[in-house]
């Protein structure tokens, strides 16, 4: 078996340009690796036939960019025309979309090749990869551990070097948390930077699409490719998309960096905290000015998320009623029974639990008690972040409170799995860009991730710091080697 997909992007690209390899070689290698890593359960649907066809078609075109011919994996809640999109749910088990998401169109315009649709937590609800209708996804660093979620398969595919690129979605941490657990680079950009058109909605005001990659360089390239205003998404921004790679490996001395006190408090696992402390010392030695700061209401991140995200979800998932698409119950007498049975059969437990909470917090007087209040607190948290960015270029902290844990640990405790997103949710609430970068391993050689948070539409500053740290730390992050 070939192993081109473990080479650096520039090396692969140069081989393509010199015609030493063809896009087809990369595609076939990706499918070989999927087969070899079948137990990881990273994919729900493979795009083998079309991918091979597309790769062959690319042989007739001049290599015209760094992303040309590169295999990419797409999270299965991003719609792909004529390629099954299930959201890892029984509800959409047989759903073939009739249109492409905007990001998919952009990927195709860059001549990247979609290898398949990645496994995930059902409707992006979960942070362990265990709520999928298509079975658990495993962490390639340790098959007994969770990969994190909900973009589990995307992080796993990149970590196991099945594809160099993947797209994920992030509503409360679903790109950053699995990226951190799997030792890859995951970016949740500014809200509005990347079009959401074609992302199956979970919580519209918190949903983001973003790149998951092996390196910061690849991440910057893919983000540039998928960003920009989209007339199909009125919440997308018309701000010019920078050429992010121009900002990599620049001088970081003099950067003003804040560390929220809450992100270094005792809610964080000690090993993770110590790793963060090492990084802070390293950055100071490189000339960064680091200060500890307070951001208001960070400790309310989880209840905020439960109210706002689940309220929006209860509305967004109302369309799965068996009338137009998706699962339909086989026998019923009345309309009410039709709805009840269709939705009871189609949704998994975690989804049902969240829809019930979401409906509850919007019902009658609860809307005032919970929803309106949550919006107010969200507003204050945002103000506090904005104040911080008047003083600092970046904020940093760990991505998660801990490293990947054993499968099955949190299944029985509905609340516990929300706590994985404690440090990531605030950035969805604020819409600020945040990237998870691998910064080392714990005693068990499980990856630890660090979160770098930027001001609105300042992804390039995040990439500058991330690229310098990545280069300085020089970690070996190919997960397959350990198994």
């Amino acid at each position: 078996m070939t192993n081109y997909l473990s080479l650096s992007l520039d090396e692969i690209h140069s081989k393509l340009v010199k015609k030493e390899i063809k896009p087809l070689d990369l595609v076939l290698e990706a499918f070989d690796k999927i087969e070899k890593n079948e137990k990881l359960n990273a994919f729900i649907t493979l795009n083998k036939e079309s991918a091979i066809e597309e790769a062959k078609a690319l042989e007739r075109i001049e290599v015209n960019g760094l992303l040309f011919g590169m295999p990419i994996a797409i999270k299965d809640n991003i719609v792909t025309k004529n390629l099954r999109t299930t959201c890892a749910s029984c509800m959409l088990e047989n759903f073939d979309p009739i249109y492409n998401a905007t990001v998919v169109e952009k990927i195709k315009a860059n001549h990247m090749i979609i290898i398949g649709k990645t496994n995930m937590d059902e409707f992006a609800m979960g942070s362990t990869g265990e709520t999928s209708y298509f079975g658990d996804i495993l962490n390639p660093w340790d098959l007994t551990k969770v990969p994190g979620g909900s973009s589990s398969g995307s992080a796993v595919a990149v970590s196991a070097r099945i594809t160099p690129f993947a797209l994920g979605s992030d509503t409360g941490g679903s790109i950053r948390q699995p990226s951190s657990f799997c030792g890859v680079v995951g970016m949740k950009p500014t809200y509005g930077r990347v079009s959401r058109y074609g992302l199956v909605a979970f919580a519209s005001s918190l949903d983001h699409i973003g790149p998951i990659t092996r390196t910061v360089y690849e991440n910057a390239l893919l983000l540039e490719a998928i960003s920009g205003e989209d007339s199909n998404d009125l919440t997308s921004s018309n701000k010019v998309v920078p050429h992010y790679v121009d900002y990599l490996n620049k001088e970081i001395s003099g950067l003003k960096i804040g560390v929220p006190n809450y992100y270094m408090s005792d809610v964080i696992n000690e090993e993770v905290r110590n790793k963060m402390k090492e990084i802070i010392t390293l950055l100071e030695s490189m000339g960064c000015n680091i200060e500890f700061i307070d951001i208001d209401y960070l400790e309310y991140a989880i209840p905020l998320y439960q109210v706002i995200a689940l309220a929006e979800a209860s509305s967004n998932l109302a369309r799965y009623d068996g009338i137009k698409f998706g699962h339909v119950t086989s026998s019923y007498q009345t309309l009410e029974e039709f709805y009840k049975k269709t939705r009871s059969e189609g949704f998994g437990n975690e989804v049902k639990r969240r829809l019930m909470i979401g409906s509850y917090v919007l019902s009658g007087k609860n809307a005032n008690i919970y929803y309106e209040k949550a919006l107010k607190i969200r507003g204050k948290m945002v103000d506090s972040f904005k104040d911080a960015f008047k003083k600092y270029d970046l904020l940093i902290g760990p991505t998660n409170t801990d490293v990947a844990y054993l499968l099955g640990t949190k299944q029985d405790d509905a609340l516990k799995s929300f706590y994985d997103d404690l440090l990531t949710i605030p950035l969805n609430m604020a819409g600020l860009p945040a990237l998870s970068l691998p910064i080392g391993f714990n005693h068990d050689h499980m990856p630890i991730g660090m979160q770098i948070i930027g001001d609105y539409f300042k992804e390039e500053t995040i990439y500058t710091l991330a690229s310098v740290l990545e280069k300085t730390l020089n970690l070996d992050l190919e997960s397959g080697k350990k198994c």
């Binding site: 991003i78 719609v79 999109t85 959201c87 959409l92 759903f95 979309p97 009739i98 249109y99 998401a101 959401r196 058109y197 074609g198 992302l199 199956v200 909605a201 919580a203 519209s204 005001s205 007339s231 199909n232 998404d233 009125l234 919440t235 309220a311 929006e312 209860s314 509305s315 998932l317 109302a318 369309r319 009623d321 009338i323 137009k324 698409f325 309309l335 709805y339 409906s359 919007l362 019902s363 009658g364 809307a367 929803y371």
Partner: protein, 471 residues
């Protein structure tokens, strides 16, 4: 004596080119499920668009109903399950209606009354569902068609006022050109809330009536409901809050469902659409393009001295009114109104012509009106000329010459004619001297005849009297 309290909620379909939140065509009448986009189906991954034309129409309607326009507005989601609702929620404006605190002024027996409008808001229509014996059929052509809902305050006190209110509202929207407002075809839907109470006591329990298929039936339904509720109270039967349906076969209302306490629509702001900021400049731009409203036109026409009958006839037909407005500033508006509501419209009706079809224009019609005003031609001649102008058009003077209808207004030639006729009729001169009026009339007739109708009758009359008196 029980006092009725009536409030009306009206849904109006807007005739924008596209749907409100998708790029689908706003054409319901085409083959079912052909004007449908992934958005109208509530497909996974879709996000709403916003059709600015609809916002403009909402601003125009708010202005026409004297409502305050929301400077910052957003949309909300109204959540409920029903097969005709593709997304499981309807995008509407719960918190920030585009218009609020407006009114419609009605006039009854010369007395004017303002019916207050609580709110106007924009929302999307649902699918059209057709229930057959074995299935319910859904037509998504209607899903996403823009609606404006106009909610009155309970200021209406009788069926007659209600009908006047609906008629006025319909007329206004028709003049704005933003809706077909055809209640019979469903582009206007009226839901009426009726309650009755003793003077000096709180309002009674309200009952909602739906499914009213014509404006006159709005009145019928209300009168029936007032009578029904009054009798119930007389017999000490408690009125329950419920929704009833008007049945146009029996002309009665029939109970549909009792109102469940607190319908829970779980409203919350639509996160997929940004807030809309409406500034004065935007409003002004709409205002400048707005047609003059019928109530304003009525006042103008009254001042011009047009009779009520003509005013009503002109205002009841938007196309006629547009035509009148285009013409009236260039000619005598009274004569024009007589011609338009009389000979012109009847000729058009007889020949099934539309205003677009007729060849009348400012110049030729103006020439005719001016000639009639100066008595250059008789009204009888006018009737002969009109059909030619309507069907063939052309220049008025050329036509008059061609028809030999040109008037002789030259005093010298007329005097010659007058003297000749007097010479030929000595008995009439004797009759005139004896004070007999018919003598002048006879002589006038003879002169006109001799001129083949071309003599200016006014001038002839003046010359004739002068000559006779000097004899």
């Amino acid at each position: 004596m029980l006092i009725p309290t009536i409030g009306i909620e009206i849904h109006v379909e807007l005739k924008s080119k596209g749907k409100v939140f998708s790029k689908g065509k706003n054409e319901f009448s085409t083959y079912p499920n052909t004007n449908v986009t992934v958005l109208d189906l509530g497909y996974p991954g879709i996000l709403p668009q916003l059709n600015k034309e609809v916002i403009n129409m909402g601003i125009a309607a708010s202005l026409a109903f004297h409502a305050e326009i929301a400077k910052e507005m957003h949309f909300d989601r109204k959540n409920y399950f029903y097969p005709d609702l593709p997304k499981g929620y309807q995008i509407t404006q719960q918190k920030t209606p585009i218009g609020s605190n407006g009114y419609i002024e009605i006039e009854r027996n010369g007395v004017k009354k303002k019916i207050r409008i609580e709110r106007l808001h924009i929302e999307e229509d649902t699918c059209k569902s057709i229930h057959t014996e074995h299935a319910t059929l859904l037509n998504f052509n209607r899903a996403g068609v823009p609606l404006i809902e106009i909610v009155s305050k309970p200021d209406i006190e009788s069926a007659e006022e209600a009908v006047l209110y609906v008629e006025k509202l319909r007329e206004t929207l028709l003049y704005l050109g933003i809706s077909d407002v055809k209640i019979e075809e469903g582009s206007m839907r009226c839901d009426v809330n009726v309650s009755v109470h003793e003077d000096g006591t709180p309002f009674g329990t309200k009952v909602e009536i739906k499914n009213i298929g014509s404006i006159s039936n709005v009145g019928v339904a209300i009168n029936y409901e007032i009578k029904r509720q009054t009798e119930m109270l007389k017999n000490n039967v408690k009125i329950v809050e419920e929704t009833r349906r008007f049945d146009d076969k029996t002309m009665t209302t029939i109970a549909m469902r009792t109102k469940e306490t607190g319908n829970d629509y779980r409203y919350f702001p639509e996160p997929d659409l940004p807030y809309i900021h409406v500034n004065e400049a935007w409003i002004k731009k709409i205002e400048e393009k707005m047609p003059i409203m019928p109530e304003v036109l009525r006042e103008i026409y009254q001042k011009l001295g047009i009779n009520e009958k003509n005013i009503n006839a002109i205002l009841s037909n938007k196309k006629m009114c547009d035509f009148y407005e285009e013409m009236r500033k260039n000619m005598n508006p009274i004569i024009l109104s007589n011609l338009l509501t009389g000979d012109i419209i009847s000729f058009m009706n007889k020949n099934s012509l539309e205003f677009e079809d007729i060849k009348l224009e400012k110049n030729n019609l103006g020439g005719l009106v001016e000639a009639l005003e100066r008595n250059d031609i008789s009204s009888k001649q006018g009737k002969e000329i009109l059909p030619i102008l309507i069907t063939e058009g052309g220049d008025y003077n050329t036509l008059i010459n061609k028809l030999g209808m040109k008037q002789i207004s030259d005093a010298d030639s007329l005097l010659e004619l007058v003297s000749k006729v007097i010479d030929e009729n000595p008995e009439s001169v004797i009759d005139f001297k004896a004070g007999k009026d018919r003598a002048t009339k006879y002589l006038m007739g003879q002169i006109m005849k001799a001129s083949r109708g071309q003599a200016n009758p006014a001038l002839v009359n003046k010359l004739l009297i002068e000559v006779l008196e000097n004899l």
